[in-house]
């Protein structure tokens, strides 16, 4: 056996799958070849290190709320029934449904959404709640530092309110369900078609485009959204920014939404983006910092900047974005420099910004 043949046998050797004859041949080679012995030791060390990696890792967030919401919304698995049995079963289902509806209707005939405490004692207005309660249009739901609450958004989703939060049920209609988050944090999981669920904040309105997200508002009315599934639009006056899953976006009272950024963007890039979005006098220096700090994962951020920087700096943004994520063939530097809408949209599509047909992109 020579070194080439020995190297070809090393994987099987550490995995214990060499035949006795092959094993003897390899041993004979190893006895006289220190380089192959070293290669085998290195491979064994790697295998041992991999085998001792933890088999459990705790997710960074609780994944259960979305699971329970999805399973609760699903019908029970179907069983194969013969036709008469199926009809009989259907009749029973109808009767049970009528009964359940009657019972539930009696319990919830008053308008509003169901709210329930998840911890401590939240308040609806001045009333503490310890079990299921109704939140009516105009009511405020408030949590202190020891309480949290769950709010069923009609039949379209669920909102969880964190501690020290204050939210108002603005109203509900066939085409609109609306909350106002004055301060604190909420997690929304919405399974209705897009553009039915709205959350007003002092800085912007968050519009569900079929998604799960976390929205927080501080004491000054500034907000930030983190999208975990689907898309959210942040809207303030004429400005709308679509934030896709895996990204975040800040919004300032009086200014509106800023530029979306990847949830794992560097602190330096986030700080520079904050200066760019909300401190106009610092834009030039902030843009230099953003260009220096940006990685391929920040391509969506750079794409948004293409139409926000002065025309004289657009080339700098193009060059950095093109280096990190080359544009499609038909998108040219000249076209982007003149802010060609078709080319910008084409590039956005390459970056995943038009991934959902029910979330049409509306530019920055």
């Amino acid at each position: 056996m020579n070194c080439t043949e020995a190297h070809a046998s090393l994987d099987d050797s550490v995995d214990g799958t060499l035949s006795p004859v092959e094993s003897l041949a390899l041993d004979a080679h190893l006895a006289r070849c220190p380089r192959c012995r070293e290669a085998l030791a290195s491979l064994r060390a790697l295998r041992d290190a991999a085998a001792s990696l933890p088999h459990e890792i705790t997710p960074g967030r609780d994944l259960w709320p979305e699971i329970v919401a999805a399973t609760a919304a699903r019908p029970a698995p179907s069983r194969r029934l013969t036709l008469p049995l199926a009809l009989a079963a259907a009749a029973v289902v109808v009767l049970v449904a009528i009964g359940a509806w009657s019972w539930q209707h009696r319990a919830t005939r008053q308008p509003g959404w169901t709210v329930a405490p998840l911890a401590g004692t939240p308040h609806v207005g001045a009333t503490p709640i310890s079990g299921d309660a109704r939140l009516r249009p105009g009511d405020w739901l408030e949590t202190d530092d020891a309480s949290r609450a769950r709010l069923d958004v009609g039949a379209i989703g669920e909102v969880r309110l964190e501690a020290n939060s204050r939210v108002r049920f603005v109203g509900t209609a066939a085409n609109q369900h609306r909350l106002e988050l004055a301060r604190g944090t909420l997690h929304a999981l919405i399974w209705s078609p897009p553009r039915l669920f709205f959350v007003d904040t002092p800085a912007a309105t968050a519009i569900d485009l079929g998604c799960a997200y976390t929205l927080a508002v501080d004491a000054e009315g500034h907000g930030i959204v983190r999208v975990t599934a689907g898309y959210v639009a942040l809207e303030n006056g004429p400005r709308t920014v679509v934030v896709p899953a895996g990204m975040m976006c800040a919004a300032r009272r009086g200014t509106g939404p800023g530029t979306p950024f990847a949830a794992d963007a560097s602190p330096a890039l986030r700080a520079a983006l904050d200066r760019f979005d909300f401190h106009p006098a610092e834009r030039t220096a902030a843009l230099d910092e953003i260009l220096r700090e940006s990685r391929r994962e920040d391509s969506v951020t750079l794409w948004h900047l293409l139409s926000q920087v002065p025309a004289g700096r657009r080339g700098d943004v193009f060059d950095q974005l093109a280096a990190l994520h080359p544009p499609p063939e038909e998108v040219t530097r000249e076209g982007i420099l003149r802010a060609d809408a078709v080319m910008l949209t084409r590039w956005a599509g390459e970056l995943g910004l038009i991934a959902a047909s029910d979330a049409p992109y509306r530019g920055p």
Partner: protein
Amino acid sequence: MPHVDEIAALPGSAVTDSPTPADEPHLIRRAQQRDAAAFERLYRLHVRRVYALCLRMTANVVRAEELTQTAFIAVWDRLPRFRGESAFGSWLHRLAVNIVLMDMRTARRREERIFSTCDLPAFERAGVPMHASVRLDLEQAIAALPPQARIVFVLHDIEGWKHAEIATHLGIATGTAKTHLHHARKHLQHALQ
């Protein structure tokens, strides 16, 4: 303004009262009868294992979270048909592997091209005796492997699957699985030098 990391931490990774394995058969029976509380306890018992698998196979935190959720939703759907012919954990993990593989085959979403990343903080949430920096270097190197090589390495060298099982799940020849493993190990040895 609320800090990004504060928001990330808000939903928490708090684990409620984890059931002991002795509870499991009883929990499975109750969950098969559509008892959501029992199902939540099964989830709490197994989520960290499933998430670790999804995270290593995808090298993408957001996808790993989504696929973990998808796996448990699929478990809820299929649980009534679970007959206990294999251990519940094994059944669940194979289901999760299939879901990740199916997702990688059929849902190559465009945002993956810009969001895929090795998220080291996610790996830091595992408490292990191995020296932390060595483990993180290894996790990072695994995450940087080409997808097919990464999956074969994770299933073979971390999860302990046989080449034949891996080949069946991936729809490839056993020899191809061995080749992927060889390349993965070479990459990792080079990366860790």
